[in-house]
């Protein structure tokens, strides 16, 4: 059902083209020069979360992860060098969009040309009119996994009462587990900095059950194949989120750049490069819902 803003914009452009509007009369902000400017500078500055494995993290000073690889591939396709700026997540995504995309930080952090890993959600789009959301490239959702000795991973989570259960601090998995079955698991929760660490804890004997995002589960399992972590296949009962799409954001007047990036991402999806890039990190690429219904 989600048709996405992109579809709407494309039809607007089509209409403009059909009328053969003279360049001078086109709304200038839609035709602003950020793509040309970025090409001139030779550098694509990409903002990524600094502590968001497997998407992006600081690997001894070098940005690593799915989004870091994607940023490099996108820069390369435009004949540019990627300048990846890792930043610390603020309280909400709208704070990140302000700090990273449209305004910059108060202490000198320069705005980026594009930010990856931005939720592609109609409600969020309506709230944020300083940026444009584009190129939904993945569908994320929450799942669970178990330690090798935990037995049947498909039972209701309440069955793990008395066993250590891991989740990222202050996340939906955390809220879900704290509130699950009237709060019976509250005392068993082991809080980790990230969902990736929560899943990794299943392989070290620190936890028997963990809830995290699907990409975190698959990557942590792939990174420790000998650990014997088992993925839960069934959905989590009463999970608080149905899942969400991930896309990119550019500044409101940088649509030309956004469209160029979106075209390249669509090409990567079409010829299998996107799925290959994800699988290098152990993650099965899943198309965004928005891109499926638009197609």
């Amino acid at each position: 059902m989600e048709s996405g803003r992109r579809t709407l914009l494309k039809s607007l452009f089509a209409a403009a083209g059909a009328l053969a509007m003279p360049a001078a009369l086109r709304p200038s902000s839609l035709w602003a020069a950020p793509l040309a400017k970025v090409r001139e500078a030779g550098v694509l500055r990409v903002g990524l979360y600094t502590d968001n494995r497997p998407w992006s993290w600081d690997d001894s000073g070098k940005p690593a992860g799915i989004d870091a690889d994607l940023a490099r591939a996108l820069a390369e396709s435009l004949g540019l060098r990627a300048d990846i700026a890792l930043f610390i997540a603020d309280e909400e995504v709208s704070d990140d969009l302000r700090n990273v995309v449209w305004r910059g930080g108060l202490l000198g952090f320069q705005p980026c040309d594009v930010m990856l890993h931005v939720p592609f959600d109609r409600t969020l789009m309506q709230q944020e009119d300083n940026v444009v959301f584009m190129a939904p490239y993945y569908r994320e959702s929450f799942g669970a996994a178990c330690s090798p000795d935990a037995g049947n991973c498909e039972v209701v989570p309440a069955q793990f009462k008395g066993h250590p259960i891991a989740a990222e601090l202050d996340s939906i998995p955390d809220f879900y587990l704290l509130g699950h079955a009237g709060g019976v698991l509250t005392r068993d929760l082991v809080h980790k900095r990230t969902g990736y660490e929560a899943i990794s804890a299943l392989g070290t004997g620190e936890a028997d059950f963990a809830v995290a995002s699907r990409a975190q589960i698959e990557a942590a399992m792939a990174d420790a194949p000998e650990a014997g972590i088992q993925k839960r296949h069934g959905p989590l009962p009463m999970m608080l989120s149905p899942g969400w799409d991930i896309g990119i954001a550019v500044k409101e007047n940088s649509r030309s750049l956004g469209f160029a990036l979106e075209d390249e991402m669509n090409a990567m999806i079409a010829d299998g490069r996107m799925a290959a890039l994800f699988s290098r990190h152990g993650v099965n690429w899943q198309p965004a819902l928005a891109s499926q219904s638009a197609a």
Binding site: W55, E92, V93, G105, L106, F109, P119, I172, H191, S241
Partner: protein
């Protein structure tokens, strides 16, 4: 003969000093005992709050309610550059120099007679810091040849106060973990005592004491139960009792940041530090009182051991926080002279405690409305909670019920310090009357992932004001007078023996009031909002007043109806100094 004798004495004194305290020999400038005497020394302002009790009361009366209407500026000094935003600092004055911290972790020294800049120090901050609540700093501390202040990247820096050159520079916490620092340090017994700040989940509040000469840690006291304190590098006992008021491992990341610093009472040797709200924000996820969040702690200055605690908002679900300053004062209660302390909490209640043991003696509402509690039970010390006043639990499915809550999360009183007059026996509280609609937001995102957030809008609750400066009688809880201000008040208060109360407004005025009646006697437009704390001192036989001007702080970060009262106020960054004409 007489001359020779005095030489001999001086020689003897020098020799004794060398033997007794060689480290002190080269130092010049205020000692720890000078700092303890700051409230009584009229010729300087050596500490945040003007003395360890931080009553912000001056015994000077040359300037008074009869002549304040003639007060005029002597000079103004700009902090310069493009860096403006909130100037929440309180100036210090010593030896002909005014020291003031500025936004973006800067420290300035100005000539106190001419306003000429002597030096400026700008901390080099990593560009990746994203401070939650503006780039403010609230002031510095002086000791010997050093002036010391905290920076946004959670460092403590000691500079030579004559040259501005760094003497030591210590990291107190990791800014990448979400820690920051904005409060003025407190110096007690040759130790710099600081709290910590950080809005991020995972931050645990703590108080640290460091050697003032080296910056090395002496003791540390985390404020959440279950964490271990240290003294001289060795473990020094657990804070509270593990899992007594927290479930599971939530105590490990329980919050309680001590972001506003503390006060000190030399008589009991106790430090009084307020602690912040618990984490996570939603109270339904952390059953229990969540000690020692939203509390005042009395901490032994020598060891860092907690002697008593008083929790103003057990199981805080409104971000009321409990960091507000606890100001010691002596008064007669029920016919008995007593050692007391008072705190005007963000939750809207003014608490009077016995400062020797933390026993509650009085709790009075100082704002128009509190929807979360109907008074405080003096027997149990706990609030009479109103059940429907608590924001709901997130259920993920749809937008939750909207709860109206007053005070808003910015509090009945926020960071801005109140003052106590030993003359009138009244506390002067810079307060705000505002509420908020709050609801659970099913579609929210954090770090690129779905999240259950809270939506809110702050709104005024009165037609004619948000800010209100209130004179509170601590013995009766009676509000003796109030001054209403259209925009929210966000600056500190000063009171003097000259029957005066000074405070600033976002509209740009520094104002003086009659301490007994609240009559406005004088105002001066400084060109930008005043959110700093004024001070007064005597210099060359005249009484001076100084304040910072520069609009900012947390208020402008929030929009809604409240923003109408301040959206047109320009930024600034200026020190203003006043006196009576000769």
């Amino acid at each position: 003969m007489k001359r020779r004798f005095s030489h001999f004495l001086a020689g003897l004194a020098a020799a004794t000093a060398l033997v007794a305290a060689p480290a002190q020999a080269d130092h010049h400038g205020p000692t720890s005992s000078d700092l303890m005497n700051d409230a009584a020394s009229a010729g300087d302002v050596l500490s945040y709050g003007m003395g360890p009790w931080q009553q912000r009361f001056s015994g000077l009366d040359a300037l008074n309610s009869d002549n304040v209407s003639k007060l005029v500026p002597v000079f103004a000094a700009s902090l310069g550059g493009e860096k403006q935003r909130g100037q929440e600092a309180q100036p210090l004055v010593y030896d002909g120099t005014i020291y003031v911290t500025g936004s973006y972790s800067r420290l300035f020294a100005f000539d106190a007679r001419t306003g000429e800049k002597k030096w400026e120090y700008t901390a080099r901050l990593p560009d990746g810091i994203m401070p939650c609540c503006d780039v403010v700093n609230r002031g510095a501390a002086i000791h010997g040849e050093k002036i010391i202040f905290a920076t946004l990247d959670a460092r403590l820096i000691a500079l030579n106060r004559e040259t501005g050159k760094v003497i030591w520079n210590k990291k107190t916490a990791d800014y990448q973990e979400g820690y920051s620092a904005t409060a003025a340090p407190l110096i007690v017994k040759d130790m710099v005592i600081t709290g910590n700040s950080g809005g991020e989940f995972g931050v645990v509040g703590a108080v640290q004491a460091r050697n003032v000469d080296t910056g090395e840690l002496v003791w540390e006291r985390p404020v959440i139960e279950g964490h271990m304190g240290t003294l001289n590098g060795a473990p020094n006992g657990m804070t509270g009792k593990l899992n007594a008021t927290w479930e599971g491992d939530l105590w490990k990341t329980g919050g309680g940041a001590t972001w506003l610093g503390g006060t000190y009472d030399p008589g009991t040797n106790l430090l009084y530090f307020g602690t912040g709200n618990p984490a996570p924000w939603n109270s339904h996820l952390r059953p229990g009182d969540n000690l020692y969040t939203s509390s005042t702690l009395a901490i032994d200055a020598d060891t860092g051991v907690i002697k008593w605690h008083y929790q103003t908002t057990p199981h805080d679900g409104w971000d009321f926080d409990g960091v507000n300053e606890f100001i010691p004062f002596d008064a007669t209660m029920n016919g008995k002279p007593m050692k007391l302390g008072a705190k005007a909490d963000r939750n809207g209640y003014f608490y009077v405690l016995d400062r020797t043991n933390g026993k509650l003696l009085g709790a009075h509402k100082f704002v128009m409305q509190t929807t979360w509690a109907d008074g405080i039970n003096l027997k149990t010390g706990r609030p009479n909670y109103i059940g429907e006043g608590r924001p709901g639990a997130p259920n993920g499915a749809e937008k939750g019920k909207v709860v109206f809550s007053s005070p808003s999360f910015l509090g009945g009183k926020n960071w801005m310090p109140m003052a106590y007059s030993q003359d009138t026996g009244l506390f002067y509280i810079p307060s705000n009357d505002w509420g908020m609609d709050i609801w659970n937001e099913p579609i929210a995102y954090k770090k690129g992932a779905a999240y259950l957030g809270a939506g809110f809008t702050i709104k005024p609750i009165a037609d004619d004001h948000i800010g209100a400066l209130r004179a509170m009688d601590p013995k009766t809880g009676k509000i003796v007078w109030e001054y209403k201000n259209a925009a929210p008040l966000w600056g500190g208060v000063l009171t003097t023996k000259g029957n005066l109360v000074f405070t600033g407004t976002p509209e740009g005025y520094l104002k003086a009031f009659d301490a007994k009646t609240g009559t406005e006697l004088w105002k001066f437009q400084t060109g930008s909002g005043v959110v700093g704390s004024p001070v007064t001192w005597e210099q060359d036989g005249e009484q001076y007043v100084a304040v910072m001007s520069g609009w900012g702080g947390a208020v402008p970060l929030w929009g809604g109806e409240v923003a109408k009262t301040f959206k047109d106020i320009s930024q600034g960054g200026m020190l203003w100094v006043f006196k009576l004409p000769k």
